[in-house]
């Protein structure tokens, strides 16, 4: 269970105050909403990429346990933020080898097998996106977060990616959060959240 309590994020020109909410084990979440509405910020906090005492995992606030947080993150959390999380000069194989044993079958399914020794900078946006999602799925653990995993791929690849994410969720029975603008998938998820319903954005005059 992930609990969000009094989470407030301040930017230069605005602040976002999230309502208290709970993400439960065994459920998949679909978050949609306007750009700049706070979807990606929420995912970064949920996935512990940002430090905040407003997030707790099963009652544990990791800001007080930094070492444990690192271990927990490494072991349990898989994240896809955007293709920008990849390293341009490393190859597909380099990226995957840092996660674990390379699953060639999955690589083939994602159309990345012929590109295994290609540097990321030579991949298309769609290929990068597939690689990023694959990396998040390859990670052990039951907490998975995907921010716009299908924005650069066609419908059939989008279907494959979303199905892959949900298959993985059904296997590990953890918490899966997908942020997307493509509402055609929302019916596949247990919980659908419109971001504007769970947070207030306050524009500040600088």
């Amino acid at each position: 269970m992930i609990e969000v309590k009094q989470l407030q994020v301040v930017f230069k020109n605005k602040s976002i105050r999230y309502h208290d909410m709970v993400f439960e084990h065994g459920k998949s979440y679909f978050i949609y909403g306007d750009s700049g509405g706070g979807k990606s910020t929420l995912v970064k906090h949920l996935s512990l990429l940002e430090n905040s005492d407003a997030i707790s995992y099963n009652g544990v606030d990791f800001t007080k346990f930094k070492k444990e947080k690192e271990k927990f993150k490494r072991k349990n959390i898989g994240i896809y933020l955007s293709e920008k999380m990849l390293v341009d000069d490393l190859t597909v194989s380099d990226h995957l080898s840092l996660v674990g044993k390379v699953d060639y079958e999955k690589l083939k399914n994602y159309g990345l097998l012929p590109l295994i020794n290609t540097k990321v900078k030579h991949l298309s946006s769609g290929e990068k996106q597939r690689l990023g999602v694959l990396i998040a799925l390859m990670k052990d653990g039951c907490y998975k977060f995907f921010d716009e995993p299908t924005s650069h791929v066609n419908k059939s690849l989008s279907d494959m990616i979303i199905n892959g994410i949900l298959d993985n969720h059904n296997k590990n029975k953890g918490i899966t959060v997908v942020v997307s603008h493509d509402l055609s998938y929302k019916h596949l998820f247990d919980v659908v959240i419109n971001i504007s319903d769970v947070c207030d954005v306050v524009e500040e005059v600088v």
């Binding site: 070492k67 993150k73 920008k84 990849l86 390293v87 000069d89 490393l90 080898s97």
Partner: protein
């Protein structure tokens, strides 16, 4: 983490090569800076010239005459008649004249034909000074190097090349004490007649390309002049000023000229070092900025994967360590050979420089550069979001 460091270095080898090159240039410029034009050698020169204020020789290059006859460096290819020596001796009564005939060699070292006056302040370690032709005394270093002893016979080479081309058998009658003057320690000394006798044979064949001075009996290459009378010294200089065939050269003036070159060389080296250092620092800075952006991508990726800050620092330290090992090796070879090359080139033009390349100093500089770069990169790794 080491594997990741290695993979990142492999994938970014082009940029890391640029970085290595830049740091090597910084080390090279520091190395160049530590290479200073040797004042010691010039002090040696003054010490030698102190004995002989003036040198008389055939008209030609003053520098060449002093370099070849006073510092025994190379060959002066013009000669003067022995009668000139007798004439100056007769004319300037308060002045000492030493005849020199340098034309032969042994194992690449010059055999100096002179009289015992040339060696009067030098102690003989074993044996005695030469008294007649075909007798030779050897400098300390050359005796040790060739295991020469009193009573040994050596065969001189006609000319001053290193190829053996045997002409005349000489008997060693003395070995000199080690002196502070490397010129004395590395040469052989014989009676002037020995040189004349060697060169009187018409049928002698010369090695092709070997520098050789043709002598007839009675030829000298120069006359060294030593006097306590300033009046006679000035008289000698002015008397020879108008002479078409011969010249009298003040050795101090020539050495002062060398000193001016020395100062210019020092300044040039400092400027050169400064330019290389400035350009290298700018260059390393630019390449570092690029590498920083690349490492930032890696940090972001491993952070998403859940790698800890400790692992990030470890990765950085591995990268910097591997890079610095390469920097150390490349710059060691570069600075060592580069400085030797520069010394060789400068000395070829008569500019004596001291190569103060010191392995301990090099590793201290390298170590400082390694630690500094590691600290900077680790700080970057810590601050990088």
């Amino acid at each position: 983490m080491f594997r990741l460091a290695w993979v990142v270095l492999k994938r970014l080898k082009g940029w890391f090569s640029f970085y290595v090159l830049g740091v090597c240039f910084i080390l090279l410029s520091v190395g160049l800076g530590s290479m200073y034009v040797s004042e010691d050698k010039y002090e040696d020169m003054y010490r030698v010239t102190k004995g002989y204020q003036v040198i008389i020789g055939a008209r030609g290059s003053k520098n060449d005459l002093v370099l070849t006859q006073v510092f025994l460096n190379g060959v002066y290819d013009k000669t003067i008649p022995y009668s000139l020596y007798e004439k100056v001796k007769e004319t300037y009564k308060n002045t000492e004249f030493i005849p020199l005939a340098i034309a032969d060699s042994y194992q690449g070292s010059l055999i100096v034909g002179t009289d015992v006056g040339y060696l009067k302040n030098i102690k003989v370690k074993h044996g005695v000074l030469f008294k007649k032709s075909n007798e030779v005394v050897v400098g300390y270093d050359i005796a040790v190097k060739n295991k020469l002893q009193v009573g040994d016979k050596i065969v001189s080479s006609h000319g001053v090349g290193e190829d053996d081309h045997h002409d005349k058998e000489l008997k060693i009658v003395g070995v000199l004490e080690k002196t502070e003057n490397k010129l004395i320690d590395n040469y052989l000394f014989t009676d002037i007649k020995t040189i004349w006798e060697t060169h009187s044979h018409e049928d002698v064949e010369h090695v092709e390309g070997e520098e050789h001075v043709e002598h007839t009996e009675g030829d000298l290459t120069s006359i060294l002049v030593k006097t306590s009378s300033m009046k006679e010294l000035n008289l000698i200089l002015s008397d020879f000023k108008q002479d078409d065939k011969y010249m009298a050269v003040s050795t101090v003036d020539v050495v002062r000229g060398f000193y001016n070159i020395l100062e210019d060389t020092s300044k040039a080296l400092v400027v050169l070092m400064g330019i290389i250092l400035f350009v290298s620092v700018l260059y390393v800075g630019s390449v570092s900025l690029f590498l920083a952006s690349k490492l930032k991508e890696v940090y972001r990726y491993i952070s998403v994967l859940g790698y800890s800050l400790k692992e990030r620092i470890l990765f950085t330290v591995y990268v910097i360590s591997i890079v610095n090992v390469v920097v150390g090796l490349v710059s060691f070879i570069g600075v060592k050979n580069g400085s030797m090359f520069i010394v060789d080139v400068l000395e070829k033009y008569g500019i004596m420089v001291s190569n103060s390349f010191d392995i301990v100093m090099f590793f201290i500089i390298w170590g400082i550069s390694y630690v500094l770069s590691a600290i900077l990169w680790v700080i970057y790794a810590l601050r990088c979001k």
